[in-house]
Amino acid sequence: MSDQDIALAIDTSTRYAVVGVSRDGQSIAELSWRSDRNHSVELVPAIQRTLAQAHVSIEDITVIHIAIGPGAFSALRVGMSTAMAMATGRDIPIITIGTLEIEVHPYLDLGQDVTAIIGAGRTRLYIGTFKREDSLSNGHVYLEDRDKFLENLPVDSIFCGEAVAELRSELIGRLGPDYKIVSAPPPTRSASVMAEIGHAKLKSGDTTDLADIEPIYLRSSQVASAARRWPNTKTE
């Protein structure tokens, strides 16, 4: 086996999907597109096109990088099941990467906390706050209603992520002139970032056993307390 790792990255966390091919942590080709709800139809052709663009055949892939959420329920599972099928079929390792980690990674070395925001449908947001002194895996990831989040914004933080463009004016209104908001409309996640995170994880032996791979599913605090009250039999 060559000592190079050639990775295929898949991120179907949200309506924007990303596929990339990289060698030793450096991107060769990537494709990102707005898939909306069509991931199950569009993902595999996108993988084929990206492999062709990278002049890499599927047999050359030595590792798979997969984004595990939080994100849209069905879309996320399309990418994850595809990644797991390929890893199983080719008997290659799989590396899981949190979707909010991909969002914050480019901004972690700026000496400040970073908060990433992704839409979770209607008025809900997936939020990840990453402390500047902490490692990437120690971020606090949670689900919050948009108004509640805006009322109680993390202080002294950089804001980034797929949803910042649409929340920009509200964030500026609340943060005042000292705001630090990444100015990037979606798609905000790049396969080159996954390549870098994934390559570092592979080198440190941080692969995940196929049986242990699960999407990150977040409950709202409201649902968490509803779950504790189950079962609630119907009464008139």
């Binding site: 329920f73 449908g121 209607r122 307390s225 509803a226 189950w230 079962p231 609630n232």
Partner: protein, 156 residues
């Protein structure tokens, strides 16, 4: 806001459903409460036609979720056979409940607190063989239009 109206036949219930369907907007969630045979599926059928759909809604008890094309896609769900919040979460209903279409959920009272705070409840109470009391309520002003929709008398 809350309003009640009497339905004297399945035809009336269907008509009430049509009025609700006409007023439904993107992202609305309707929770249906009522015993077996109270008319939940008939009401849903009416909602679908009010949305401009042309199919016949069937009970989703065994398939858990039915999907019907219309002005807004109607997702008709039934939690009757589910036993835990985890089972509901594993179905991925969040994509629908927090999406941009219309969700109508039967037996939602099995999972209080699971649904978006912005929902309307439609209760169907059996008064006698034919008669039902239909009550629509909501705690959010945004959905008052659905509560208002049933006004006007079932025999209108």
């Amino acid at each position: 806001m809350e309003r009640s109206i009497r339905s004297y036949s399945p035809k009336d219930t269907h008509k009430i459903g049509r009025r609700i369907g006409t007023k439904a907007q993107s992202g609305d969630v309707l929770l249906l409460v009522g015993d077996l045979g109270a008319g939940k599926t008939t009401l849903t059928q009416g909602i679908l036609w009010g949305l401009g759909g042309t199919e016949y809604a069937r009970s989703p008890t065994f398939v858990l979720v039915n999907e019907y094309p219309a002005r807004l896609t109607l997702y008709h769900m039934d939690l009757y056979r589910l036993n835990s919040i985890e089972e509901i979460e594993d179905l991925g209903l969040d994509d629908y409940l927090y999406g941009n279409d219309l969700c109508v959920v039967e037996w939602a009272d099995k999972a209080p607190g699971y649904f978006p705070v912005n929902h309307a409840v439609v209760q169907l109470e059996v008064i006698d063989d034919q008669t039902r009391r239909v009550t629509v309520s909501s705690e959010t002003a945004h959905l008052d239009r659905l509560v208002m929709a049933i006004a006007g008398g079932a025999d209108e």
